[in-house]
Symmetry: C2
Subunit: 209 residues, 2 copies
């Protein structure tokens, strides 16, 4: 794969720069130095330069980075300058919260349909997105060639949902369940690890006592 060269920590930091730059832009700023970014974001100066270099932009001595150019470069690099359609499977609390999270649109994600098993939810609209029965998933995703499936069902149901998404030709799965999914190597799986984050917090808190 051609993406081997971009380290995962760099990829994971890019949204931090992006959020920070968007905030500065909202405040009317037009340029920013790597050293100010380094200080404000608490990331080493050389690391800031390495991270931003992957997007192809380079700072100008004395001037630094033009904020609009840098935002544009990061968005294009992550493909966040266009909306990629996604479906969400599991219209429970978490699924519903994600549907209401408008900020995803700034991250290139457009959730177009939701699926659930619960008859009370079928046909309802959650934050303007219609909930369909999970039996319709394969047909809908195939017909619309949706590339991203978001799994917000329980761990027990997650593998079955993943199988359906794979059958439907999904290209990438954003997995909020705790299940380790088995999918063909051609399917990208990105696990959201709330538990991992909580483990760090819990452990460090315990160490204080």
């Amino acid at each position: 794969m051609s993406d081997v060269k971009v380290p995962s920590p760099t990829l994971r930091r890019l949204p931090k720069y992006l959020n920070y730059l968007r905030r500065l832009q909202e405040l009317g700023e037009v340029a920013i130095s790597a050293s100010t970014m380094s200080r404000d974001l608490d990331i080493q100066h050389t690391q800031v330069r390495k991270d931003l270099a992957v997007t192809g932009v380079q700072g100008v001595p004395k001037v630094g980075h033009k904020i609009d150019i840098l935002i544009d470069a990061i968005e294009k690099f992550l493909d966040w300058n266009t909306l990629t359609p996604a479906v969400i499977v599991g219209a429970g609390n978490l699924g519903s919260a994600l549907l209401g999270y408008r900020a995803f649109q700034r991250s290139g994600l457009s959730i177009v349909e939701a699926f659930d098993l619960n008859q009370d939810k079928i046909g309802q609209k959650l934050h303007d997105v219609t909930v369909y029965h999970i039996d319709d998933l394969v047909n809908h995703v195939k017909a619309k060639q949706i590339p991203i499936g978001i799994i917000t069902v329980s761990a027990k149901a997650a593998q079955n949902v993943a199988n359906l998404l794979v059958d439907a030709g999904i290209q990438a799965i954003w997995n909020f369940s705790h299940e380790k999914l088995n999918v063909p190597p051609s399917v990208i799986v990105e696990d959201v690890e709330l538990d991992s984050s909580l483990a760090e917090l819990s452990y460090h808190l315990k160490q204080r006592h």
Copy 2:
């Protein structure tokens, strides 16, 4: 600090083992070998042994690990065998979803109160947790000596909320906002990086095309 020796990736993997072991236990299994864990979780065999060693348990040749002992060791190591009280600030979609996420109780987290600015929400119960006005936050958290604050407000509001939590003597902040928080070094901050996870997914998806 005495926790320097436990690498962050190990900490972050422990919940994966825990979820996996709990599932096996539900299925009636009593023992498991490190090599089976390695295969099922797609983590190298030597890594599995190193990860589990931090909890103090050791496998028995031929028998492997007793599942109940391993679950207990991981839970104690993460302090997940007792419930630690937390408050959540921001009772919007995400806050409400987290309140409804009962699985947190299996991760040692008990969300006892919620806070918001929105008058329509004050006094309501969301998933059995009462929503109070944010003006009551400092008094409530101080009085009950709540150690964990969960921030689910917008990036713009997050620093102000963090300041209130610090004033109230909070020990750790689980930050779901996109804001980089400035807090005294004595306060633990763990950022939940949904955007980072989505950045990995988006970039790898783009590389396919």
